[in-house]
């Protein structure tokens, strides 16, 4: 391969000149998936049980994939760190799931969902993948209804819809404020059925800590039984990662405490490219932090923006309570700046707008670190009962956390890390550059570009798990000659030893400061320099601070207990080890991308109105990073071609 080197790595990274091929089939996107499904090879039903498939993660993507491959007759093993597959973090998604059903007859179509998603992603997603996502969206709703997912209904018994950000149609299906929970229970129940049928073996409280690669192919994983500390290899014909995103690199995020980037990061260190790590989503409607004890941030569903109006006092430094600020002294900034989308402007845009208001001194609440989300007008128009029916559980949750009644006073919200669009690079078939390693759901980078639209994460997780992977994975198995592997292979022993070494090193450091201390410090650095606004200067500073903190961690971390028992400190420490490295790559990627797009906002690249300024000539590519073992990762570029949707400046005005 031909490699271009430059003198200062932090300015321009080393990149590979040959372009990275996403293996997108030729021809128009409208017929591509149908054609590909026919062209892919199949495995005879009676042969399927001979193939062992490892799936890591049991959320919407992993759980749905395990259930579906089990139904098809494969010999599946599914791993989860929680005590039950029903607890995967998909459970926490509140608002809904998109589909192009057009049940409202308001102009929706597969093409429009595709178009909205490409545009919403700020033209940094692969068109072919997004079209396929929109295409299978309808079958997801059908499948979930058949499983018994209790979606909201109208009085006539038909499915109800609501609107979400970045769309002018009502295409979001929902189950009160618990859509993720209900969809996950659907997948969990389908999975339970396969566990009972014996096609899927479920391993809970078991964490993947390394990937086993033999002769260039992914052939297994190394796991730690979190109850006993036992470290063992698990071999298979193919490995699938559905382990979610890495928002917890920020320490404070809306992710569950256990969500982690370890599976994808250790696969990255075994050769899988990591794509667009700097594309992180900061969700605009979360409860603002209150103090040092804060352990996580809580999301208030985007669906609230259907009926809530966002405002701040016009006058900076105005400390009057909300009800004493008269109407003409309120600034409904989203409605004024983006009249056609108003309070439903996409997430990246709404988040930055909130940050600008707070930075300008208009923040509200005791720490002046929020903006109002006000339901007074909707309650006046529709009555409190309607609002309670729509969002009751969210209002209750808000009251539990803040002690405030949002039916009486406006909610206070502020952006918080929520979702990561970046992830392991995959081709059209959802396979990484390591043959036999597939990556699905939030763990891959594929469908959302630089910004994900609301209610699209559930759609993508289930699209990958129910429909895409179960079609592409058999094609790999059918067209690959797989040799026998056994636990005595050098690669297996080496991977097990690697995990044991990391564990021992953590246990032996015996320093004085807790894992959480270091995680909090890392989170502060990433939030400050690689959060909602980024600059070259700040990113370079972060690239200096992170390795310093990491070095101190390895000198001075204290992991209590022993390695051979249930040890939550050890679990956290292992995850943090990877966050240091992943956080660094986020900054390198953000520094390399000299443009603003979606969730990646470089202060240097903005329009006069403060909107993101893309640079399509130089940066219309996927940045896929190869691990090199030192601090200079190698950049592979997959050029993005927009043949169906025209590249345009995103406007929601």
């Amino acid at each position: 391969m031909s490699v271009t080197t430059t003198q200062t790595m932090t300015e321009v990274p080393t990149f590979v000149e040959a372009t990275l091929d996403g293996r997108v089939p030729s021809g128009p996107v409208q017929t591509m998936w149908e054609r590909t499904k026919f062209e892919m090879k199949l495995i005879n039903p009676s042969n399927r049980r001979k193939f062992k498939v490892i799936i890591v993660g049991s959320g919407l993507a992993g759980g749905a994939a395990a259930a579906t491959l089990g139904e098809q007759g494969y010999n599946v093993e599914c791993y989860a760190y929680q005590d039950s597959p029903r607890r995967a973090h998909s459970v926490a998604a509140q608002g809904g799931i998109n589909a192009a059903k057009n049940y409202r007859n308001d102009g929706d179509s597969v093409y429009r969902l595709f178009y909205d998603t490409v545009k919403g992603g700020d033209f940094r997603a692969r068109e072919a993948n997004v079209y396929r996502l929109a295409e299978v969206s309808n079958a997801i709703i059908d499948q979930c209804v058949a499983q018994g997912v209790p979606f909201a209904r109208e009085y006539g018994g038909m499915l109800d819809n609501r609107s979400f950000g970045g769309a002018q149609v009502s295409r979001t299906f929902y189950a009160r404020g618990q859509t993720g929970q209900q969809l996950l229970l659907g997948a969990y129940q389908a999975l339970a059925r396969q566990i009972a049928a014996g096609t899927v073996k479920m391993f809970t409280r078991t964490e993947m800590l390394d990937l086993i690669v033999i002769n260039g192919r992914a052939r297994g994983i190394v796991v730690r039984d979190m109850r006993t500390g036992e470290i063992t290899p698990r071999l298979a014909d193919v490995v699938v990662l559905g382990t979610g995103g890495y928002s917890n690199v920020f320490y404070l995020s809306t992710n569950a405490k256990g969500c982690n980037g370890t599976a994808i990061w250790r696969a990255h260190k075994r050769g899988a490219y990591f794509a667009n790590p700097c594309y992180t989503q900061i969700h605009p409607t979360c409860i603002p932090p209150v103090g040092e004890h804060q352990s996580k941030l809580t999301l208030m569903s985007e669906s609230l923006r259907n009926d809530g109006r966002i405002w701040v006092p016009k006058q900076p430094g105005d400390t009057r309570p909300a009800d004493q600020i008269p109407e003409n002294e309120r600034y409904y900034y989203l409605e004024e700046m983006y009249p056609s989308y108003g309070n439903l402007a996409p997430r990246d845009i709404s988040s930055r707008a909130a940050k600008r208001q707070v930075d300008s001194g208009r923040g509200v609440g005791p720490l002046r670190n929020g903006v109002y989300l006000d339901f007074a007008d909707s309650i006046k128009r529709l009555g409190e009962k309607v609002i309670r029916d729509r969002y009751g559980n969210l209002f209750d949750m808000y009251e539990n956390i803040t002690g405030e009644n949002a039916y009486k006073t406006p909610m206070r919200i502020y952006p918080a890390p929520h979702y990561t669009m970046g992830g392991l690079w995959v081709d059209y078939y959802l396979m990484s550059n390591i043959p036999g390693l597939f990556v699905i759901g939030e763990a891959n980078f594929s469908d959302h570009g630089a910004n994900r639209l609301g209610a699209s994460a559930l759609m993508q997780g289930l699209a990958d798990g129910y429909f895409v992977l179960p079609a592409t994975l058999p094609n790999y198995l059918a067209s690959t000659k797989l040799e026998k592997v056994d636990a005595g292979a050098d690669a297996v022993k080496e991977a097990v030893a690697n995990v044991q070494n990391i564990t021992q090193r953590l246990m032996n450091t015996k320093g004085t400061k807790s894992v959480d201390h270091y995680h909090r410090e890392l989170g502060k650095i990433i939030w400050e320099y690689c959060g909602m606004g980024r600059t070259a200067e700040g990113l370079q500073k972060a690239l200096q601070l992170i390795p310093e903190l990491e070095a101190e961690f390895w000198e001075n971390v204290r992991v209590t207990g022993t390695a051979n028992e249930l040890n939550q400190e050890l679990e956290k420490a292992g995850r943090l080890v990877d966050y240091f490295e992943l956080g660094r790559l986020m900054c390198i990627d953000a520094l390399n991308r000299n443009e603003s797009c979606g969730g990646h906002f470089r202060e240097e690249y903005q329009t006069e109105e403060g909107e993101a300024q893309r640079n399509d000539t130089e940066y219309a590519y996927v940045a896929a990073w190869e691990y090199t073992g030192d601090d200079r990762p190698l950049l592979h570029k997959e050029p993005l071609k927009f043949e169906t949707v025209k590249l345009a400046t995103r406007s929601y005005k």
Binding site: A64, T68, E71, Q82, D83, S84, P85, R87, H89, V91, A92, K101, Y103, A139, D142, Q143, C144, A146, Q147, G148, P150, A152, R153, Y155, G157, M158, L159, A175, R176, Q178, G180, Q181, Q182, A190, A192, R193, I195, A196, M202, T204, A256, K257, G258, G291, H293, Q294, S295, K296, T298, L299, M397, N400, S514, D516, R558, T560, E565, L566, Q568, E569
Partner: protein, 251 residues
């Protein structure tokens, strides 16, 4: 605020457990109950002692992973919340708080406040699903579901599987959990084909796991963070009776 904590410590499933007393200072009333325990753990680590282990994950009341007996009440004194959503402002400065794991024969303690709830998964595996393979579904609007049915199914499906109902029940019964899953699926037209088999199979598994029977005490409903109704148990019993007359549950 300042608290006197009395916490169950147990090294592993094999060893004996005991209560240990801790004095904790500097707790913010805005912090959650689990953040209060985080603070205690931080201080324990600083003293080079092992932190208190407890299950938790989403910390927004939906994953069902957390669950503690707080002064003898599952999920603590506030109605309709999980432990993670309980905030310290419901306590007063100087309060004594006793913290225990779920206590039930079918939920063995693994370490400190962590218990094994895998019995719940096995109850669902026995029949808590609608048998439909991916790809078999007709259009989602082909079968209208009257709003009341959909709402009742959703009320039951809101269960998060935390196990508070079992922990609160003097009999260690899992009837509220099992009946909620049954009511969810049996309320919907899609769930009718397997309705009576499902009731028998899930109840059989529930009994096999060592959960006790229901004697209408109602503690389960009182502590349920999702306010799952006792009515679902009645619905389950009606279905079970009909199922036995029909000779169901033998598949």
């Amino acid at each position: 605020m300042r608290l006197k904590l009395r916490i169950w410590r147990q090294k592993n499933a094999q060893s004996e457990g005991r209560f240990v007393d801790y004095n904790l200072d500097g707790v913010s009333e805005d912090s959650s109950f689990l953040e209060m325990l985080d603070l205690l753990n931080q201080q324990l680590i600083d003293r080079n002692e092992e932190p208190v282990h407890f299950d938790h994950d989403c910390r927004e009341g939906i994953c069902g992973m957390c669950g503690l007996m707080i002064n003898g009440i599952a999920h603590g004194p506030k109605a309709a919340v999980t432990t993670c959503q309980l905030h310290m402002r419901v306590f007063k400065d100087g309060d004594s708080i006793t913290i225990e794991p779920w206590r039930a024969k079918a939920f063995p303690v693994m370490k400190d406040l962590i218990v094994d709830r895998s019995a719940f998964d096995r109850i669902v595996q026995a029949g808590g699903y609608i048998s439909v393979n991916t790809g078999q579904a007709p259009d989602a609007n082909v079968i209208p579901v009257p709003k009341e049915q959909a709402d009742r199914a959703m009320d039951a499906a809101a269960c998060i599987g935390c196990g508070a109902c079992v922990a609160a029940c003097p009999n260690g019964s899992a009837m509220l959990f099992t009946s909620a899953k049954l009511a969810h699926l049996n309320s919907l037209p899609q769930g009718q084909a397997e309705r009576f088999d499902r009731a028998v199979l899930m109840v059989n598994q529930m009994d096999a796991e060592g959960f006790g029977g229901c004697t209408n005490i109602g503690e389960c409903e009182a502590v349920c963070p999702k306010e799952i109704s006792l009515d679902f148990i009645a619905m389950m019993n009606r279905d079970l009776l009909r199922a036995s007359l029909m000779g169901k549950g033998k598949r």
